[in-house]
């Protein structure tokens, strides 16, 4: 076969397109979980303010709205990239799933994104223009919008993991998945579990950001009257959600065992065609010898997924070679690290709860330092959780229906993808540096002091008197 420059080997296009998608989506995914999590916390904070009229709650709400806006701004800009990439890099995929995936994406824009972006303006700039309850309703609108967004995106992705409510029309290059039952598509076997898992993961990301920043203030003895109650609000969210995440994770794994057994086998590095499932705490998969070295609880996986220590489960060798993920060790490690982080978060939540109960929550600098750095944990867990889910789905882009290697754009060349990949790497590096810089600046500046707020509200009163 003769290759010329415009017809580069498809392997390169595939790898580059996968790297580009992984990179752009991973970068994007730093932000939406924080928006979703902060959305919930903002609703709690502003709700407390409306209920108590205590200006400390107004100060913390105003402060976190500003951080929210910074995060949201980057989330939106990097999110549009994702929407375009389906068409630019994965045209065959887009043709194949457009009937289904496209509807979910359009629904996201209409139901979620518009709500969120529309009301954000009121949140940021509307403090003096609307009544407090209207502002609060806008905050709820923004928080709901950010969650709805997750709903439609996770529905679309879950359909790729566990397709339902469709039929295939046409053959070969013309084959298309078409909807037969909208609600079966929306509530496909993995949607609810995965959505719950994603939303709780997002709540954790938001809660631990608020915890971290306030732990820092308390350590530095700054803004104490605002930092302490804000810390407690976020800690309460973290305690509840870290425990809920354990249950959601369990339910999700049961679903994977049922719907994507090859993926579950990769999670645990299990190769034998049929065996009792062991659960590894830590381990290393040797893909050559198909053996795992590590510490395991024999039969635990069978017990967790089937409620019985003896049930035999299919391993990777039970499936055709070309229908299982190739990077088993990577999937294994990412998955196990995610679980370990989940457990650590529960530990941190319980530690916080215990100290709070003993009235010593803010007494130990070491604990506060721990909470300050813990902000990274949910972020890492969210990222690697998605990586293990998506890598575990390979070699399929739509599980059992369409291979990733068949999903590319026929017209796009390796050079073009390389060009855009370099472009995104440069732009996102700059963007991330700016984000960290400005976030730090806002944190260093901190919430407005109560005197400043008092001054502001007095001005508002005077302005209202003059107006009337």
């Amino acid at each position: 076969m003769i290759r010329n420059s415009t017809n580069a080997p498809t392997m390169d296009v595939e790898i580059l397109s996968r790297i580009q998608f992984a990179f752009t989506v991973a970068f994007h995914y730093i932000y939406p979980p924080l928006s979703i999590g902060l959305g919930l916390i903002l609703v709690i904070m502003e709700g407390m303010y409306l209920k108590t009229r205590n200006p400390i709650y107004e100060a913390m709400t105003r402060f976190w709205i500003k951080i929210f806006a910074l995060i949201f701004g980057i989330g939106v800009a990097t999110g549009i990239v994702m929407e375009f990439e389906f068409g630019t890099n994965w045209a065959t995929y887009s043709r194949y799933v457009g009937d289904i995936f496209g509807s979910a994406l359009a629904a996201e824009g209409l139901f979620a994104f518009a709500l969120e972006s529309g009301f954000l303006g009121v949140l940021l700039f509307g403090w003096r223009r609307v009544k407090p309850w209207v502002h609060f309703v806008s905050t709820i609108g923004v928080a709901l919008g950010s969650m709805f967004s997750a709903v439609w995106i996770v529905v679309a992705n879950s359909w790729q993991q566990t397709p339902a409510g469709y039929h295939i029309v046409g053959e070969g290059m013309d084959a298309r998945a078409e909807i037969t039952d909208f609600w079966a598509m929306v509530f496909n076997p993995s949607s609810v579990d995965r959505l719950t898992h994603v939303i709780i993961g997002a709540f954790l990301a938001g809660a631990f950001l608020v915890i971290s920043v306030n732990a820092y203030y308390i350590l530095k003895k700054r803004h104490l009257e605002i930092a302490k109650p804000a810390f407690k609000i976020a800690l309460s969210v973290a305690i509840v959600t870290s425990l809920a995440q354990l249950m959601s994770g369990h339910s999700s794994a049961e679903g994977v065992a049922e719907n994507q057994p090859a993926k579950l086998a990769a999670f645990e590095g299990m190769y034998e065609e049929k065996a009792v499932g062991d659960l590894y705490l830590v381990g290393w998969v040797n893909e050559e010898t198909q053996e795992v070295t590590g510490i395991k609880i024999p039969g635990m996986l069978s017990f967790l997924t089937h409620g019985d220590w003896e049930t035999e489960m299919p391993g990777l060798n039970a499936f055709p070679r070309d229908e299982i993920p190739t990077q088993v060790n990577a999937v294994f490690q990412l998955y196990h690290l995610m679980v370990a982080i989940g457990m650590t978060l529960i530990g941190l939540g319980l530690l916080g709860a215990f100290l709070w109960w003993r009235g010593k929550l803010f007494d130990y600098p070491l604990v506060l330092k721990l909470f300050m750095w813990a902000v990274l944990l949910p972020q890492i867990a969210n990222q690697i959780g998605w990586f293990s889910a998506e890598m575990g789905r390979q070699p399929w882009v739509v599980y059992g229906l369409l291979r990733t290697s068949d999903a590319l754009s026929a017209t796009v060349t390796a050079n073009q993808v390389l060009f855009s990949l370099i472009l995104f790497t440069a732009v996102y590096s700059l963007l991330f540096a700016l984000f960290v810089y400005l976030l730090n600046k806002k944190i260093q500046h901190g919430p407005e002091s109560l005197e400043e707020l008092d001054h502001g509200s007095r001005q508002r009163e005077i302005a209202q008197k003059i107006a009337s």
Binding site: I80, F84, G102, A114, G121, W127, F419
Partner: protein
Amino acid sequence: METFLGIELATWWYLVVGAAFTGYVILDGFDLGVGLIHLFFKKEESRRISLNAIGPVWDGNEVWLVIGGGALFAGFPEVYATLFSAFYIPFMLFLVMIIFRAVSIEFRSKEPMLWWRKMWDTAFAISSGLIAFLLGVVLGNVLLGFEIDANGNFTGSWLDFLNPYAILVGITTVAMFMMHGSLYLVMKTRDRMYAKLSIISKNTTIFFVISYLILTVYTLIYIPHLTDNFTNNPALFVLPLLAILLVANITRQVAKRKFMGAFISSALSMAILLILVAIELFPVILLSTTNPEYSLTAFNASASEKTLEIMLTIAAIAIPLVGFYTGFVFWTFRGKTVVDKDSY
């Protein structure tokens, strides 16, 4: 084929996609226009007023791009796939500019240093300009058609897209957004800024009218296939006539300093020009210059009837909702722009 009120579902969806993009052009058009003209103001205060005039709404306006893209993906997946993969390089640049526009609005006023603010002001102007230009170039090429094979894949080179006609549409789009943006901003300002903007809006209107006339003549002479639908159905000629009247009305209102009226005329003429585009093309969406039979139309490239039905239901529920809270946000921030401590 299933119909609603006697019109095929695919045609309805063609209208929805068109409406979403029209909404985007009208709404984000003035944000981009403000980006394009704000460098005419040298004073810090004026630049901040420009930025904050669009501050509370630009994010919501941009959503219409996401909705339009999603609507295209859902209703015409074949078109979405062909268009986006064909325009790989232009769209990648477009995305980078969308990112720069967002961050320059967001970051500009976060630091007091002069170089910092100048840098982001320049980035805001360049990104707004390139977004407008690239949108025009894509539209120009869609009007011309490009090489599409039997499988719906683009077979040409992306350099083909930089042809004179597409560049002309690009320039006209820039001119139109500059006019639209200055008409928006003039309503939001007072005193000296208002005075200066009255002049700017006059000049940008002249710029737009000239480029629009050149474009129209060029289209009539060199791109005959775009007028087929009109010659076949003479009643439709009322629309180009209406377009001309609306554009003329912009100049009349600007001369009389009735900027609200001029802005509304500007928005309506954008809508009518896009309706003209839709009629010129229909039922074709992407014309294949390789073989007209390979063209993607509203009928051969649409999603299943089931999906169209679902999507139309979703749109019928969601669009009034979106309209309602878009209206609410605009109402909340009506009147002249004031810069306070919550501003950008």
